[in-house]
Symmetry: C2
Subunit: 128 residues, 2 copies
């Protein structure tokens, strides 16, 4: 369980707009970036919100990783997004891989402003 | 995106042992507690880890909610678990619902020790 959890609240994202509104695009971005970073996606669950007219209006989703998870939620009406990337270091140190995914998703979304936190998980567990 | 994110690292859980090792039991616990709290599960992705003998050896999973997500990972060899419950308050204040789910899962797992964090998400977003 020992590892890092990167947390971001992203405001007025000006990047890949389709990723904020289209489930398939956001899922592909997140899964591909996890895989490219050397993490191991085991499953993904992404849901498409629709507005009153039936148009795409936000996405919520998670990627389950062998190393823990990524979670992302979008509010395209404001361009805001929340992002979580938590990886444990059970069999190896995955911290750099987590930072890589996190940075790549931020690069794609290009927020004007971000509030970021980093939480050390499993701080009492030693190497487990 | 404005809401609360409850984070726990749980040590030496002595509660429902089957929930630490069996995917179906853990998924049912998490989905049912979300639903019972009045949250809205939209999907779930839970994965069963196996040990070298092919026996159940930990679970990793997420519940995607209309209100954001729950994520949980277990290490039954030590009884350790990480839990995240993040709910946004887009259409109503869901904070009490998040605390209810969080408390119910902790009650089921009965950790001997816990390190807990609470992160206010979307602090710059007003009511969005």
């Amino acid at each position: 369980m020992n590892g890092i959890h990167l947390i971001a609240d992203l405001y007025r994202c000006g990047g890949t707009a389709v990723a904020l509104t289209q489930r398939d695009a956001l899922e592909r971005l997140c899964v591909d970036e996890c895989r490219d970073a050397g993490l191991t996606p085991l499953g993904a669950s992404f849901y498409q919100f629709l507005d009153a007219d039936g148009d795409a209006a936000g996405v919520t989703g998670t990627v389950v990783l062998a190393e823990s998870h990524l979670a992302i939620h979008t509010w395209p009406e404001s361009g805001n997004v929340t992002l979580d990337v938590y990886v444990c270091n059970f069999s190896r140190d995955n911290s750099d891989r987590a930072r890589h995914v996190y940075r790549r998703v931020l690069d794609a979304l290009q927020p004007e402003d971000a509030v970021e936190y980093e939480v050390v998980r499993g701080s009492l567990s030693g190497e487990n």
